[in-house]
Amino acid sequence: MAVGAVVARILTQYSDKGSKAAQKDISKLGKNIDGFARKSSRAFGVAAAASAALAFKIGKDAVQAAIADQKSQVLLANALRNTAGASNEAISGVESYITSLQKQFSVVDDDLRPAMARLTAATGSITAAQGLMQTALDVSASSGADLGTAVGAIIKATSGQFKALKTLVPGLSNATIKSKDFAKALEEVNKQTSGAASKRSQTLEYRLAGLKIAFGEILETLGYALLPVIEKFATTLSTQVLPRIEAFIALNKDKLAASFQIAADAAVKLLAVSISFGDWVSNNMGLVKTMAAIIVGMFAIGRASAFIIMLGQVTAAMATLRATAAGAAIASAFATGGVSAAAGAAAVAGIIAAVGIGVMAPSSTSGGSGGKTVPSTGNPLPKINSSGAAKGIAPALGFPNNFGAKPPVITTTVDSTTAALQKFIDSLKVTNKTLTKTVSLQDKINAEAVRQNLARQARLSGSSTIAIGGSGSLAYKPNSGVNVIVNNAGSVVTGEDLVTSIVNGIERTTRRSFGTVGAFDR
């Protein structure tokens, strides 16, 4: 717009440019304020926390100082009453005297009061004690000994024992000592040590000590103010809270004791179960490895298998060892095209025998159109203790120790796996009838993989009968479906053989199906 020209606005529009700038500025200002607030609140928070901690510390120290001061006052007052028959006024005067000494010589009252009490007891007079107190302070200052030592030496001197005093005041003449004249000795001592305490109080050390004493006095004053509060709290605690706790315990002591007993028993049981479970695992490491291989194989082949749904069921069933064993055997049979059917069955039988679940080791369990036979006799797997380990593992897995019972979950698992087996067999039928258009591509691929696997197994064995360990057999009948017959009676298959055969089969099948090698690391 021209400068210096006459401008006649016809149309005027609202512009938020300025307001946006203003908003931006305000926002920035707000952020700055927020940042400052955060920082300052953080700083204030720290300061507040520190202040609170300091306040708590001060309060705690103050109360403690007040309690200690009160205690020493009471002790001194009691001593003065007992030894000198002091009245309350006299006691108060002594307190004032101690306070003045404390300020004058920078010696804490907690040292002065005991000294005063001892001197009063020794002399039987508050006035005499006060005079000796001054001497004791000078002796202490000149000799460097503490006030208690100086007082002790003077008290001994009052009874004619000057050795201690001579130690503190070497200038004390032997003649005076021999005379056992306490007044003369005191005069001599005063002459030699007079003003020592006063001079000592002017040193930096004792001036600082004086500051400390002054602060202690402040704390004591504060503590005396807090003491009523503490007393009220203590009264409330003792008169209201503790009686109720006592009443509660009196009413529920038996229940509490029982609860503690139950908790202790549970802890002991848990410990025992943990130990037995660990023993079982270490004693049956071969079986554990076998099961691990089967499980891994299931997952590897499951990618190519249309029985991925069944895999999920079996995987879920693997929540328990028994379910795992049952599912693994059948799933492995699917995965390896039958080669591991016998192995899986053997593994199941072994596990069943190991765990001691009689219901899972029937003489025969049939399912599907063909059916499978799993003899319960014989235990092909080594290192299995069919009694001790079972007792340990069963409770660890959440089952009671009654091995003859039949947990419902096993029935469910067998049913699901049986249904899956039926599905598998049905898919093989479809394969043999030349895949129709209704069969999905996934089914075709899987079925072909299974067919090729079975064919390969047949070639390896030299016939259509596939032998495992020389005993187990699986017959494949292309024109009439599949009839799976497993008979491992008398089998000599070991756990290592099982793992090896399963792993080899899985790797070959995987390589053939996906062109990949090393589907899993054995």
Partner: protein, 187 residues
């Protein structure tokens, strides 16, 4: 000069958004503004006579060192004055009122500016009644051409309502077009 100013809102936002959907609608809106401003510009130029407002007002600018008296007084060059009466849609700096011009007339020549505003501040003051040449000038120009605001402001005061109404109508139409496009987009 009008005491009231109608502030249009949403021109820029509407046009920016409408540009995404219908550039023709934007053109139509701009055409309305341009037409109105052009009409105002034309009306303002028509107020400039070929002859100077007063006989003593030279038609040429003074030549430094040669022109006696009135040194610096701009000559009445009707062509220049008319050509420097222009329309603008340039937005000025945003001031405290947060309003800016969406359309204005400018009277940029010195002679045109004098003719536009002469006597504006002096109205009702001693300067108008002074017997000086300046007082005579103010009285004469006032008597002949009326109060100050004699060119662009006169046009604006006369046509502002019409122009604002037309532009506002166009703006509402643009907003309606935009809403229509937005609804269609949403659907």
């Amino acid at each position: 000069m009008a005491d009231e100013v109608i502030v249009l809102t949403g021109i820029k936002e509407t046009l920016d958004a409408l540009k995404e959907f219908d550039k023709d609608a934007v053109k139509r809106f701009n055409k309305v503004i341009n037409t109105e401003l052009k009409g105002a510009e034309r009306d303002a130029r028509n107020l400039i006579s070929e002859d100077p407002p007063m006989s003593g007002w030279r038609k040429t600018d003074p030549i430094k060192g040669k022109t006696r008296g009135g040194a610096g007084w701009p000559g009445w060059n009707a062509g220049e004055i008319k050509s420097k009466i222009t329309k603008t849609k340039a937005q000025g700096k945003v001031r405290g009122d947060y309003t800016t011009s969406a359309g204005a007339l400018l009277n940029k020549s010195a002679a045109g500016a004098i003719f536009e505003v002469a006597g504006k501040k002096a109205s009702g003051t001693k300067a108008m009644t002074a017997q000086s040449s300046s007082g005579q000038f103010l009285r004469t120009i006032g008597n002949r051409f009326g109060k100050a605001s004699r060119v662009v402001w006169r046009v604006v005061d006369k046509d502002r309502n019409k122009i604002e109404a037309n532009v506002n109508r166009a703006l509402e139409q643009a907003k309606a077009d935009l809403q229509k496009h937005l609804n269609r987009e949403r659907a």
